[in-house]
């Protein structure tokens, strides 16, 4: 004889959808960079690393450990979701996992960008930034 039984107790607290995005702010630099990299399109892990390097002119380089450790927690926080595995033609058709922002992730990255833009305005008003082109990038 062989038997399994499970008693299921489903908690009634906290649904993902009703969470407050403000509660996650401020974001760590790694999380913010990953959210920015995924803001325009879904990417695989290495695609995220490349996007971050390009957008920061090579000033920010993220290692695989930081990347996947952050992805793991961002998935758990509901900021990201996997959008499936697809073969990569450049790599012997090895399958890669792709990630994209959730609706919650989009709200969080917008709020964080707005928060930073506000700080830049403060810096501007105290004449800490020389050119308007730097601040203009945050509008």
């Amino acid at each position: 004889m062989d038997l399994y039984s499970f008693n299921v107790c489903v908690g009634e607290t906290m649904k993902q959808t009703s969470r407050d995005p403000e509660a996650l702010l401020p974001l760590t630099p790694a999380v913010f960079h990953i959210l920015l990299a995924l803001a325009d399109q879904e990417r695989h892990g290495y695609g995220i690393m490349q996007e971050i390097t390009q957008r920061t002119d090579g000033k920010v380089r993220m290692g695989p450990g930081t990347l996947y450790g952050s992805i793991k927690r961002m998935l758990a926080d509901g900021l990201l979701e996997e959008s499936g595995e697809r073969p990569d033609t450049t790599l012997d058709h090895e399958r890669r996992r792709y990630y994209r922002l959730t609706g919650f992730g989009q709200r969080v990255v917008r709020l964080e960008a707005a928060r930073l833009a506000q700080l830049v305005t403060v810096a501007q008003s105290k004449k800490l930034l020389s050119g308007p082109e730097i601040a203009g990038g945050f509008s």
Binding site: N7, G45, Y46, G63
Partner: protein, 315 residues
């Protein structure tokens, strides 16, 4: 940078080998989910670095990777340790309730049937200790009943439970239903290959397989053979799966009565079985709610008492 020599395959393969062994520093749960992805990412990273900046660039890249590895292995172990402490101190239950919307009490029981010398049943329950994995992939339960009298039923049921477990958590599609289906189908292919490689064509190594994934308020159940899943909801018992059994199919078609089935000479014949190429896997999705009980069992219980299978163990 355009004048750098072509990338050396030796540098690439030795870098990969070194990185693969360094990944052992991460906690096991983390490796299970991300090792494959990290190796693919590392491969691209090394290839592109060698192409763009040659061996000098590779050296700079390694210094970044080593720094990254040291800090993040520390972070991942720290988080694992915190998790273990929470489990020990009883805080875990609360975190399960708030983060996962699911708490499980699991009971398991197996014993060797009266007629057989070995127990050909295998069972496995996986409740990932990592809350992130639990939240993304859910908990997995498998019962496999090796075919009685057939060659190596015990080995087959063990192989299937282990492979389904590995494949389910390794293949990460966003759709758990499909992931479970693929895991069972892939595990079947491994068993078929083993039969073929060991020259078994007539008396194959086979087993039934029932696997359930519990994720939030949903149960996904995959079934091949005559093991069963029951769902008990508010005192009512529902059989979720359909037996792939010759006599049950005959009853369903009205060709024999349940009474005749009890003594039918082919009552032990199953119509689908793991170990047979391209086996069709049944998939069921059930909503589960607070207080429900899900039961997976092999034919061993139900075979004795086909009309009231539940009473024999729900004392």
């Amino acid at each position: 940078m355009s004048t750098t020599p072509p990338p050396s395959p030796w540098l690439l393969t030795s870098s990969e080998r070194l990185y693969r062994s360094l990944l052992q520093l991460y906690p096991r749960d983390f490796r299970r989910t991300y090792q494959r992805e990290m190796l693919i990412t590392f491969h691209s990273y090394v290839s592109d670095t060698l192409q763009a900046a040659g061996p000098g660039g590779l050296l700079r890249m390694w210094s970044l990777v080593l720094y990254d590895l040291l800090t993040t292995t520390f972070v991942e172990h720290y988080r694992s340790a915190i998790q273990a402490i929470r489990q020990l101190s009883g805080l875990e239950q609360e975190s399960f309730m708030t983060n996962l919307l699911l708490h499980l009490d699991v009971g398991a029981q197996t014993d060797i049937g009266q007629k057989r010398l070995t127990n050909e049943d295998s069972m496995l329950s996986v409740l990932p200790s990592d809350p992130d994995i639990m939240q993304q992939r859910g908990a997995l339960f498998i019962v496999a009943d090796g075919l009685g009298g057939h060659a190596k039923g015990e080995e087959a049921s063990k192989l299937i439970t282990e492979e389904v477990n590995i494949l389910y958590y390794a293949n990460q599609g966003p759709d758990l239903n499909t992931t479970l289906l693929h895991a069972v189908e892939q595990a079947n292919r491994i068993l078929v290959e083993q039969n073929t490689s060991e020259g078994r064509t007539v008396e194959i190594m086979g087993t039934t397989c029932i696997a359930a994934v519990l994720h939030n308020e949903t149960a996904y159940i995959a079934n091949v053979g005559d093991s069963r899943a029951y769902l008990i909801h508010e005192g009512e018992i529902k059989q979720v799966t359909l037996d792939h059994s010759f006599v049950v199919e005959q009853i369903r078609e009205g060709k024999i009565t349940p009474e005749e089935a009890k003594t039918h000479p082919q009552r032990n014949v199953i119509t689908r079985c793991m170990g047979v190429p391209e086996v069709a896997v049944d998939l069921f999705t059930e909503h589960i709610s607070h207080g429900d009980t899900l039961v997976l069992c092999s034919d061993g219980i139900t075979g004795n008492e086909p009309e009231s299978p539940v009473h024999s163990w729900q004392g």
